[in-house]
């Protein structure tokens, strides 16, 4: 009975929304001048984004068909957004959630705004506290959330009941993880918002739209953003010439970005970089500051490097892994007194996990 009432209510609300939405749209501002309340991209002062209609919609059972907008700065697309009004139901008790969602140019979550007159509320109708909004933002930032592959019923039904119904129970670890990731007392709102952002097919639509507007300027602009998805997107598409032209930015991204981006930079680095001393020093000099996987990829280039690089790296033996050390020692083809002396000191140190490898190397050299 409860379910029937819930379905009727949902249909009714959806119908109301379909009727009301066109009017709502007209009333909305055509520009965005204020940084969204919760936002994950950079926002320059005095930014003014103009809003344009797109022939793209979010379509789900609960929200019906809602329009997507592109927000542009001097005709360069910056963001996508949608003003969502959706019913959120728990135990037959339904209410409307009003939220403006923002996506990046690649369809990832960028942030959200709420209407101060219509704050988000919890199951007990208490309004969200500031920390609850922040938690929702954190949840939405996680594109691989624990909520991803679960139905709402799985999350609210006790493991015992699920087992009785022949469904694999959620493990204790999963239940804890769900509790930790959602706003207490607002599981339904969190669930609905997460699935609208990540699981409504909007990402693919946005990516396709962005791809249709792609240009060298857009790629380069994305390279200069701090968003790692933008960096990956740009790095995969930059030409050899652009790699060289934007060398300074690429080496800065290399130092400051995540391991996944660094590994792509090293893997895609044009061959000329490894032939040009001053270009590659930028990368070798930060050997100790980058992650261990990137170091391994860097070391694959050792056979091309000038002797100064081998000298520099001889000071970093203690941070090398076993296999990195083997690669490094394997690259020393001729006797070089300074390098050998450094290796000797390392080999004789008691506290280095892999000093024995250096010892064996020196024994073979004798």
């Amino acid at each position: 009975m409860k379910i029937v009432i819930r379905i009727i209510f949902l249909v009714f609300i959806s119908f109301l929304m379909q009727c009301a939405l066109p009017n709502l749209k007209v009333k909305k501002d055509s520009t965005l001048v204020k940084k969204p309340a919760f936002y994950d991209l950079g926002w320059e002062p005095n930014t003014k984004l103009s809003k344009g209609h797109l022939p793209i919609f979010i379509e789900t059972d609960t929200v019906g068909r809602q329009q997507l907008f592109v927000l542009s700065n001097n005709n360069t697309p910056v963001l996508y957004s949608a003003q969502i009004t959706t019913p959120v139901c728990a135990d037959g008790d339904c209410k409307l959630m009003n939220i403006t969602l923002y996506w990046t140019l690649l369809g990832d979550y960028a942030g959200f705004d709420t209407d101060e007159n219509r704050p988000l509320t919890k199951h007990d109708h208490d309004e969200f506290l500031p920390e609850d909004y922040l938690k929702l933002h954190q949840l939405l930032l996680d594109n691989n959330s624990i909520l991803k592959n679960r139905t709402i019923d799985e999350l609210v039904t006790s493991p015992k009941q699920l087992q009785l119904e022949g469904i694999d129970a959620l493990s204790g670890a999963t239940i804890t993880e769900v509790k930790e990731s959602v706003v207490l007392g607002a599981l339904y709102s969190c669930y609905v918002a997460w699935h609208l952002v990540h699981n409504s097919g909007v990402k693919e639509k946005i990516k396709t739209h962005t791809a249709s507007m792609e240009s060298t300027a857009l790629r380069v602009a994305m390279l200069y953003e701090d968003n790692t998805e933008y960096q990956l997107y740009a790095l995969e598409r930059l030409s050899l010439e652009q790699y060289t032209n934007h060398f300074k930015r690429i080496s800065a991204v290399y130092k400051n970005s995540i391991p996944l981006v660094r590994s792509l930079i090293i893997k895609r680095m044009p061959f000329t970089f490894w032939r040009t001393s001053e270009l590659q020093y930028e990368f070798w000099n930060s050997f100790s500051e980058v992650d261990v996987n990137t170091r391994s990829l860097l070391l694959k280039q050792l056979n091309e490097v000038p002797i100064q690089v081998l000298e520099t790296l001889s000071e970093e033996l203690s941070i090398m892994t076993k296999n990195q050390l083997k690669v490094y020692l394997g690259a020393i083809k001729t006797h070089h007194t300074q390098i050998h002396n450094t290796i000797k000191v390392f080999a004789n140190s008691e506290h280095n996990t892999y000093s024995y490898i250096a010892k064996e190397f020196l024994e073979r050299q004798e």
Binding site: A169, L260, N293
Partner: protein
């Protein structure tokens, strides 16, 4: 057993009377006490070894008796390794006692496997001499061997020299003296290997099942405790004899399924089960495997196994590797087989091929005691665990790094996970709420997801799943999602490096063809389990154990037809496919009640 060991040592000494030396393998001790035999890394460090896996509590002494043929003063060394060197006390220290003489020097201090000098002692001839290993820490001290010599020259430590030296000292011949013959030799007693053995045995083949552990099941065993996932496909009857309930990974309930599995496999009179035997070579001539050689992990006894057909269910693809089978390792580029998934980009399938693979897990659990429990400080674990706090593990306790081979560096991977576990638990013990917690179980076996993939006539890929390809030789059916892992630290360096994330691709159903289950270039080699013919992403779904069990059963039935028609595995596809597929389909109709469950 004791008598046998004594004779072996006596034999060694007799054969080397001039050398006046004796090598005592630690894994062959009469009584290992609380030490465990670890045979996982033989191919890398040279031998099974004894390890004091006490989870922080000192284990009981290991003891054995040996006879010397010449009396005199002997220099003594142990082969050992400090598994976490640094500016702290070594985690796994132990001492050696010979008869009444306790050598005060702590052992297990050197970095990398090699010999540590213990001291000198006068010993008498032809009278049992007792050796004893005394654990000092309970944290995985390890001893491979004890070596006595009248010469003061230390044995070689370098890995490339140790194998030759060992053979000289033990005067071991190249070929095992006894050869046993079967219709089918299955190497690896995980779910895939067990299913292959049962299917072949049901078809009246004589089968040898060689497994390097005391219990069957591999990753599903009570020693590793990963639950089985996937569906039964055509083989419900067989797989129900072997699989597990859906308890949380690491659960002690794995022991119940262990009993069921071992009992079921042992009930087949035509399966000769070689538990605690590890294969160490496969001899192939003209791309045909003639023999697999194996060694008893404790006694060192060796056997040769001959058969017209072999199944590589080792997980790491060792049989294929030794025999010269083509194989792959690492991630293919997204263009190699068209496996790109835009949604996850580089995390799913890279633009350029690389050596990154899914990692290995070491599961663990703690339990509540009635009173306060202490846990020692573990400074040697903190470089890995850092601030991470945990009281048990799950599947996402996983470690992989692009410079580490899941095969060649498995010991380092296991040790990294041990540091993660002990360090995270030590952090948890700082909290008052965890006062009564104590470690209940920590596996010391590496639960691998991915390693060598032997290449067959068909390489199963993500595209086969996306396209829902229905092969004429589809012998495995699966509905579970494709599930590929990556290390969280790749996207956020704040995460510990031993945590992974799963990416799922949902699929209504996919199929694996029989052509992915036999080698492309070794004509009599089947493969089942994670070393079947697939790409990195192709492995993402079928690596779970009911699916690998389906593979095993499928090759067991194929082996029966190979025997019947005196043909190799490929010819089942080219000449006898209808008969084979009928046999596979008929399995569904066989009543489950008739099984030995």
């Amino acid at each position: 057993m004791k008598l046998f060991l004594t004779l072996v040592f006596f034999g060694i000494v007799t054969l080397n009377t001039n050398a006046q030396e004796l090598l005592v393998e630690a894994e062959s001790f009469d009584d290992p006490g609380g030490w465990v035999v670890d045979p996982q890394f033989v191919e890398q460090m040279g031998s099974p070894y004894l390890m004091a896996h006490g989870m922080g509590k000192v284990v009981k002494n290991a003891r054995t008796k040996v006879n010397f043929t010449k009396k005199g003063k002997y220099h003594i060394w142990v082969r050992t390794m400090n598994w976490s060197p640094g500016e702290w006390d070594a985690p796994g220290k132990f001492k050696l006692k010979v008869n009444d003489k306790l050598f005060e020097k702590s052992l297990g201090l050197r970095s990398g496997w090699g010999w540590e000098y213990v001291g000198e002692l006068a010993l008498v001839a032809n009278k049992p001499t007792q050796l004893e290993l005394l654990d000092e820490t309970g944290f995985n001290g390890r001893c491979d061997a004890v070596y006595f010599s009248m010469s003061d020259k230390a044995p070689p430590s370098a890995l490339e020299k140790i194998a030759t030296w060992r053979k000289t000292v033990t005067a071991e011949t190249n070929i095992p003296e006894i050869t046993k013959y079967y219709d089918l030799v299955v190497v690896g007693g995980g779910i895939a290997g067990c299913a292959a053995a049962i299917a072949a045995a049901e078809q009246n083949l004589s089968v040898a099942l060689i497994h390097d552990r005391p219990v069957l099941g591999g990753n599903a065993s009570s020693e590793i405790r990963v639950h089985t996932l996937g569906i039964y496909g055509h083989f419900e009857r067989i797989l129900k004899m072997l699989d597990t309930e859906h308890y949380p990974n690491g659960s002690s309930k794995a022991k119940l399924d262990q009993e069921k599995r071992d009992k079921n496999v042992k009930s087949f009179s035509n399966i000769d089960l070689f538990l605690n035997w590890r294969a160490y070579d496969a001899k192939a001539y003209s791309d045909v495997i003639r023999f697999v050689d194996a060694r008893q992990t404790a006694t060192g006894e060796r056997l040769r196994f001959g058969a017209p057909l072999f199944v590589d269910a080792t997980g790491d693809g060792w049989i294929g590797y030794w025999a010269g089978a083509e194989f792959s390792y690492g991630r293919e580029s997204k263009d190699t087989y068209g496996e790109e998934w835009d949604k996850w980009g580089e995390l799913w399938s890279p633009k350029e091929a690389d050596d990154a693979v899914m990692g290995s897990s070491v599961l663990w659990q703690s339990k509540k005691a009635n009173q306060k429990q202490n846990f020692p400080n573990v400074p040697w674990a903190m470089t890995v665990a850092k601030n991470h706090t945990a009281i048990n593990g799950e599947w996402y306790w996983e470690f992989s790094r692009n410079d580490l081979s899941q095969i060649e560096d498995a010991e380092e991977i296991r040790d990294h996970m041990l540091k993660a576990i002990y360090g995270s638990f030590a952090n948890a013990k700082q909290l008052v709420k965890n006062d009564s917690l104590t470690l209940d179980w920590v596996s010391y076996l590496v639960g691998k997801r991915e390693s060598r993939r032997l290449i067959g006539d068909h390489i199963f890929t993500f595209k086969d799943v996306v396209d829902e390809r229905k092969f004429p030789d589809a012998v495995v059916i699966e509905t579970r999602e494709i599930d590929v892992h990556y290390q969280k630290v790749l996207t956020d360096e704040q995460h510990p490096d031993f945590m992974s994330e799963a990416l799922f691709y949902k699929t209504p159903e996919y199929y694996i063809p029989y052509r992915s289950l036999y080698s492309k270039n070794i004509s009599n080699l089947f493969m089942a389990g994670r070393n079947f013919s697939c790409s990195h992403i192709g492995l993402g779904g079928p690596r779970v154990m009911r699916t690998t069990g389906q593979m095993g059963a499928a090759v067991g039935f194929a082996a029966a037809l190979c025997k019947k028609h005196k043909v190799n595995p490929r010819e089942i596809y080219t000449n006898y496919l209808k008969e084979y597929m009928d046999l596979i389909a008929s399995q569904k109709n066989r009543l489950i009640q008739n099984t030995k469950k």
